[in-house]
Symmetry: C2
Subunit: 347 residues, 2 copies
Amino acid sequence: MVGIAEVARAAGVSKATASRALTGRGYVADDTRARVETAAAELGYIASTNAASLVTGRTQNIGVVLPHVNRWFFAEALEGIQAGLLEHGRDLTLYDAEPGTASRSAIFDTFLGRKRFDGLIAVCIEPDEREAVRLSTLGKPIVSIGCYDIGTSAVSIDDADAAWRATKHLIELGHRRIAFVGGEADGGPSTLGDARRIAGYLAAMQEAGLSEDILHVVSEVSMPGGYAASVDLLGDSRRRPTAIVGMCDEVAIGTIIAARRLGIHVPADLSVVGIDDHEHADMFALTTLQQKPRDQARLAVDILMHHIDGDHVEPRRIWEPARFIVRSSTGPLDSRQSSLDRRAATP
Amino acid sequence: MVGIAEVARAAGVSKATASRALTGRGYVADDTRARVETAAAELGYIASTNAASLVTGRTQNIGVVLPHVNRWFFAEALEGIQAGLLEHGRDLTLYDAEPGTASRSAIFDTFLGRKRFDGLIAVCIEPDEREAVRLSTLGKPIVSIGCYDIGTSAVSIDDADAAWRATKHLIELGHRRIAFVGGEADGGPSTLGDARRIAGYLAAMQEAGLSEDILHVVSEVSMPGGYAASVDLLGDSRRRPTAIVGMCDEVAIGTIIAARRLGIHVPADLSVVGIDDHEHADMFALTTLQQKPRDQARLAVDILMHHIDGDHVEPRRIWEPARFIVRSSTGPLDSRQSSLDRRAATP
DNA sequence: TTTCGAGATGGAATCGTTTCCATGGATGGC
DNA sequence: GCCATCCATGGAAACGATTCCATCTCGAAA
């Protein structure tokens, strides 16, 4: 491999000057720089990042920690991060740390400790105490996307508010028996701000005096998960709600498919609202709160770059707006439903 | 940061011996090794991979090049690769190289050239000529998953055969008007073995003497893509086929949803078969040819490790089996359909 | 008893950069 | 006309590991 020494020789300068010319640091005369650059180009010189990292302490590499790849939000975020880093000339090292797995322990215990990155982007990592200590002890800037927030910079939508607005929307349409589908039972480990969304739903219901009607149906946070839970929930016509808030669009779409299969019309018989604006949301005419993981990712990258390059930048907490997109999966509670509802309410 | 010199001092040995003890190379007395190991553990010593790489030429890092993250096959493959590499203690650097983008050029032109990896896994990268040259000129072992195959090791299912079997299955059920949905028109850039699958469909149709009935409907390879194309295709009852082969399960599921929306019953009025056994396939009772990207990924990792560690290992070409899973999206052509079919066929 | 080789260790060179420090020439203000 | 700056450059010292080579010991084979 051709090293900087050969480039320097070809350009008739010292290694030091060649290095300065190529990295752009320090004083170099314009014509000298040009000479070095052409020499480098002609020789096909590519600097060894290892050698450079060894002395500068910079790896030009960013680590990304996330709990899953194969979920819309994470995959989109990952693509966004990759695109952003590419523009900054940085490499991306992936750490897929699914909660509760041996892989996750290995990642936190050994892999992150190798510090092969200048900074970290943590997507929806809700770290336990040990993991949080590990992260803060790394001494590298961290930006989180999603929810986790321990003094580092963070960007996400307001999940509680999103669920609150989704629920409120249904209430304003006249619905009272509104169920929330998706996520674990109270107290389970949560990602993606599950707990916050549930809290938003609960708050909206309570504010509207609908505490009695609160119903959280536990399900895996996925389309098949939402489908299975909804088949159960909607199958029993007596306890059937008139509206459902999905933990996310994937769950909500599962609900819509379940409804179709059961002959329940959306939105005539059932209103469904999600959160995300998943790439399939439009196809199912799903009313939802839009979030853009790609945009969040780009923002996170930019912030991280400031943390790395800037001398000392204060952590920033950015709340991305979540636009409400009303499609046709939600509608007013019709008279037939409300009479049914009334009858059930007054035994 | 604590370096190997401090560990050596603490253990009362030289740097050389400490290095040998820790890496396991060369002669070290058992008790010396133990002393060094405890010293390293107590000091929390973590070797600088940069320094090690600089002298050994090994990065302990593997690059993964793929065209998308947010597609079931790729996301699953990526998770599988990550899991496999983790077991081998390797890091994973991601290169998301969507065909036809500036990012892709940047990746091939500059990022890969930095050679920050000991080997490469290329997932469904169908490289053009320039890119192929770039890859082979890197001088690093490469294993491909999916289709691309230029003398490197490769693992994939036989896409042509899979499509052939899917089509054959429908023919044996009595179908004649069988359309293929998904992929670009002839000659477009293809990934995921699109062209091979189309070829398999064409072969099966021709062998059965159904050349007249061949119909390739172009669509984006996604669920909404399959949905939109199918709404068009199925909306016109005269030219409506009795069976459809989807480019992959995502497309096939889009077709099923389109059929449901149009009141076409599956499989009574329309048989649908896919390829993949996507995580949603079961939910839609989709008949499909199963492939397991995770398994392919693990296999690819193992092979790559052999290429890296072994002195000189011959490239291997592995065809993974694709099991046929018959669910209830396919059924025999019923009499009503066949009479309709006959009538249409004899004007 | 001598010799040979395997086992165990340390000193020093090495990997390929960046950067510190020293040097010297040009420039500009007084 | 002199001194302080700034610009431009080169030599050499890092960075933190691995590994080559030399040295030494000790037991087994001749």
